[in-house]
Amino acid sequence: MTSWARRRTPLLGPFGVRVLLWLLVELWILNVADLLLTRYSLAQGFATESNGVMDYFFRSGTVPTVGFKIGMVTLGTLLLWRLRRYRTALFAGILLTGVFAAVVAYQALWVLSF
C-alpha cells in the first residue's frame, strides 16, 4: 500500500483488532437477542415490524426470518473481520454494536414493562 493510501485509510493495530473481534461477537449475540425480542413482541400483538424487508420475512415464516437476519449479520461481521486491517472497520463495529445494544435494551425494557 502506498503511503498516500495509508494516510487515507489508517491501519489498525493488534489491540484494535482484538477490540473489533470482541465487538463483532457482541454484535452477533445482540442480533439474536433482537430477533427473539422482536418475534416475542410481534407474537404478543403489541408491536409491528417497521422494517419493510424484515416485515416480509416475518410474514413468510420463522425459518426464512432466522435465515435472513442471522445470515445478513453473519455476512456483515465476516466482512468487517476481513477488513480488520483498517481503522474504519473498528469505527463501524463500535457504531453498530452501540446502536444494537441501545435497540435491544429498549426492547427488553419495553417487553419487561408489560
Partner: protein, 380 residues
Amino acid sequence: MPEPLTRDGAPPVPPRVAAPLGANAETARHTSEARAALFAALVLLVGIALGAAGFFVERGMSTWRPEITRTASGWRIAQAHRVPLSAMALGGDSLVWGSGPSIIAMDLRSGRLKLLGPGPASRATWDPATSRRYVVWFEAQGASAGEASAWVYDSATRRRRQLATLDSVLSLPSASGNLAAWCCTTKGEGAPSIVTVDIATGEESVVAPEYGEPVLDGGLVTWPTRTGATGMPAAWALVDLAQGRRWSLVPAATLLNAHFLGYDLSGRTLVWGQIDPASGRGRVVAQNVDDGAASVVAEVTDGAALSSAPAIDGALVVWAETLANAGGSRVMGRRLSGGPAFLVRAVEASVLSTAVSGDTVAWLAQRGKTTFIETTTVSR
C-alpha cells in the same frame, strides 16, 4: 596453524535466536486481551445506557400512565396528565379504562398496568368491554375512518390479537364469557347487524339484522328498541342464544317523562336508571327478563339525584347519587336477594359511572379537572 574463522577475518556473528516467552510477555498478552474485552464491554454498556435512557424518557412523556395508590379497601387511580380517564369497565380481576385513545388494564391483585391499545397503526379507540378473561375494544386509524377492527386481550395468555374487521362501528362492544357482541355494518353489505363473536375461534354469528346497542351476559343478548325523546326504550329486544329464542320486554315501574340514564344486564335481570330533570327524582329498577316482574331498587329523592346508570353483577346492583348539598356523591349498593340499600362509599366528587364485578365495586369520578377511579370490596 589454525584456519581463520572467516575469510575476511571479521569476528563471527552469533545466529539470532528469539528469546523464549517469559512470564512477562504472557502477562502482557493477557492484559491486552482483557483491555480489549473491557473496551468492547464499555461500548456495549454505553449502548445499553442510551437505550434505557430512551425508554425511560419516552415513558416519562407518555400521557396514559396514571398515579396509582393502594387504599385500605382497594385502589385509587388518578389522572396524572391532561388526558382524563374515561370508559371504565370491570371484569374479574381486571379494571379497564380509556385515557385519550389509550386502553389500559390494571390487575387488581398486583396493581400492574398494561397498555392494551391502540396498536401502532391506529390512533382511535372506542370504549372497551370486559369479561372475566377478555377485554374487547375497537381500533381505527381515525374516529371517522371507514374501517375499524375489533381487538381482544386475553388475560390468561397475556396476548392481544385482532378479532374481526368491521366496516362501520355502530355500537360499543359488550363481552361476557367467551362471547363478544356489537352492532356494525359488515364489508360488502352495508346494512346494520347485531352480531356475536366467539372470542376463542373468531366465529361470527348474526343475532339480528337490525340496528341496536347490545349488551351481552351469559347466553343472553339485549338491546333497547323504539326509544322516545327521553331516551327511555319502549321495549327491550332479548335473544337467548342457547335456545335461539327472541322476545320483547316492556319496561315496568317507569317514571313518566324521565330521562333514561342507561342499563345493564346480569343473568336474567335487567336494571336501568331514570331521572326526572324537573324534580330531580331518580329511580333504579330491576326487571326479570323472563316473567317481566319488576322491582324498584332505589328511589332517589329529597334533593339528591341519580348521577349514573346502575350496574349489576349477580345479585348486587350499584349506582351513584349526587348529594343534595352538591358537596359530593355517594356510591350505593343493594343486593336483590334481600336487604336495604347500603352506602358503598361517600365520594367528594361527581361520580360519572359505576361498575361491579363479584364483590368489587369501582367508580369513575371527577373533581375539578381531575378524573379518578376508585375501587373497593363490599362484604357479602
